[in-house]
């Protein structure tokens, strides 16, 4: 009887090289962007050298081989790269919550920018409340103060996020049109409330004493604050990744992003998880707001709405619902903006849009689309 069934030896083929490389492409884009930035800066330095010169005997000589030495603008490139990474990290901190909230519950929050602005104002208020600590020439005191400001901002925006979820978003689950309108209304009201609480004008702020200066490295001036922002952003990214990959709650969140109904059918209360993610995302937006405010050294009520433009671009090119895509997208946007602003200032205005168009032409769902739905 046994030989009635043919011998069956299933074999799992190993994916080919291109198949294995495919998921890695987005990760390679960031180094590629850094390299391209370097090439661009070098090419711009070389450009005038390509013009033909007049020899003494009256003939024209082209100097194709007299290109600029490769280290000609290494310092500018280094400065730009660090500031691009810093900017990208800050955008990532603000955008991470938004992308998870969307992935988990299909909720798009146009009011996310309000948390950025409120976080920035709260943090600045704390900073201004302790001029002694801000002026002290001690890194520990300065960092303690910034940490305190960040914690205060996260507490306030986390709390507001909980309220926002309960009051504004809960009644409109499942209806995108209403979500967009209502959260936009929430943004308008929040902006006006900032005017009520903090007054109608912008607030200028100086960074704490020890975060003001710049390091010099290979002739490049690198602001300490930017290095700090890069470190903090990277730490937050790794922390989110660790939580998502190695904890039970992270498992539920990832499963929820992939197929929420199934997770609910297994008995998990995804709503509750969602509220938690929403609060955490709002707190992160507040933290991002403090970082951004200190970076710009000015906070305005409309900063949330302004930064939302970048945040949306990042979330779209990363792929809605994917934290890693959001991280890579943020770095790409930050780097592109800094390099392009250096090479051709006017083009910087549309460089984000161009980047978005290119990436959407390549992958219409974004670099790493996470949701299994729709």
């Amino acid at each position: 009887m046994s030989d009635a069934a043919p011998a069956h030896a299933p074999r799992i083929e190993r994916a080919g090289l291109s198949g294995r490389l495919r998921p890695l492409i987005p990760w390679l884009l960031v180094p590629a962007a850094i390299l391209l930035g370097y090439l661009g800066i070098w090419a711009q330095a070389s450009w005038p050298l390509l013009e033909p010169v007049l020899n003494e005997d009256g003939t024209l000589r082209t100097r194709v081989f007299d290109l600029a030495p490769f280290d000609v603008r290494l310092s500018s490139w280094l400065t730009l790269t660090v500031s691009g990474l810093a900017m990208g990290m800050m955008i990532f901190v603000m955008a991470s919550g938004l992308t998870l909230v969307f992935g988990l519950m299909d909720v798009i929050n146009f009011g996310h920018g309000a948390f950025v602005a409120i976080g920035a104002f709260t943090g600045i208020t704390v900073l201004l409340a302790f001029p002694g600590l801000a002026g002290a020439e001690s890194l520990a005191a300065n960092l303690a103060l910034v940490g305190l400001a960040a914690l205060a901002a996260m507490a306030v925006t986390g709390l507001l996020g909980g309220l926002f979820e309960r009051i504004i978003i809960r009644p409109v689950y499942g209806a995108h049109l209403k979500q967009i309108l209502v959260t936009m209304g929430g943004l308008i009201v929040a902006e006006q409330m900032i005017h009520v609480v903090w007054g109608p004008s912008e607030i200028f702020i100086a960074r704490p004493e020890m975060l003001k200066g710049a390091l010099t490295f290979h002739g490049a001036a690198i602001e300490t604050y930017r290095l700090m922002a890069v470190g903090l952003g990277l730490a937050i990214f790794l922390a989110i990744r660790a939580v998502l990959r190695h904890t039970t709650i992270g498992l539920i969140v990832r499963a929820g992003v992939q197929n929420g109904e199934m997770v609910e059918a297994l008995g998990y209360r995804l709503r509750l998880v969602f509220v938690g993610v929403f609060i955490a995302g709002s707190a992160l937006a507040g933290l991002g707001g403090v970082m951004w405010g200190l970076y710009q050294e000015v906070v305005t009520a409309t900063m949330g709405a302004e930064i939302m433009v970048l945040v949306f671009i990042v979330v779209i090119i990363g792929g809605l619902g994917s934290v890693e895509g959001c991280f890579l997208g943020a770095l790409l946007v930050g780097l592109t903006q800094n390099y392009v602003a250096f090479l051709e200032p006017k083009a910087a205005l549309v460089s984000d849009i161009a980047l978005m168009v290119l990436i959407l032409m390549w992958r219409p769902e974004g670099m790493m689309s996470a949701g299994g739905r729709r």
């Binding site: 936009m184 006006q192 005017h195 205005l349």
Partner: protein, 368 residues
Amino acid sequence: MTAPRSWLLIAVVAVILAALAAAPFLFPGVRAMDTAARICVFIVLAASYDLMLGYAGIVSFAHVMFFGMGAYGVALASVHLGREAPGLILGAGAGMAVAVVLAALIGLFSLRVRAIFFAMITLAVASAVAVLVSQLSGLTGGEDGLSFQIPRALSPSAAYLPDPLPGLDPAALPGVVFGDAPMESLFSEVRANGKLAAYYLVFASMLVLLALMRRLTVSPFGTVLQAIRENEFRAEAIGYRVVRYRIAVTCISAGIAALAGALYAVWLRYVGPDTVLGFPIMVDLLLMVVIGGMGTVWGAVIGVTLFMLARGYLQDLMAAAQGAVAADLPALAVLLEPDRWLMWLGLLFILSVYFFPAGIAGRLKSGR
């Protein structure tokens, strides 16, 4: 269509349109006529936005950008081609063409994948264009904008009749009835100059475009849009190409918005980033359409009129209320600061999305 007819809604819209038709003769003064012309322009803009938002269920944040393209088209044509009408029409047409092409591109990019991308991408593109316009000062005049000339026939210096036409001044009525103001103060004079002609150009264009949009919404095309809004999968399953319909309505709506922008430019004889581009106008537009009522052209008429009047009177009202409570409740007085009027409209906006998704027009229609 078997929509229940509501005489109340028809009456309100008819009163508004009649008041706009007679505005120069009913409300004397440059300011009143200016407000009436703005209401006309924004009715077109809001109704075209409602084609997307209310009928097709697509949220766009670039509608004011399309509006600005029409306006800048007219302005640039006047600056470079001269003030004659054919040039301005060409400019308006060019602005409209750019708007339609851009709308089609954005639609192709975002609506193909997920409708929700559209809202985010339009927001990004609109803000980039607004920044671009204020930065390219050589072409667009930058933050200062462009002042330009319109055909002589529409400018205040053109006189059509030797004698002024008779008009009314209702504001003098209390003085005549209760006071001892002379009967003559009830009448005003309206000069038949180019400004009046410009007003009626704007008004007539508004009527034509409004009728066109109304016609579109009750056509099979409009019905399919509503079907898509109500159930995308079902519409697709029946055999309608959802993406094509969505892109088509986006293009039509962008084109009409550009025309509204051209009218606005002709009326103001000025364009600038703060008047025809920019996010604050977009927010105003959202408030107008949602409070007035999504999904009906008449909602736009009501919403715009109400918003424009509220902008003027709400602030006065708030100032009065603030004065009344300032002594006893300083905390409340801060909230009633006239500059905070947008906050109250924002709250009204949120409440109307929750509780009256059909807006004022919907309420009037259902007869309650």
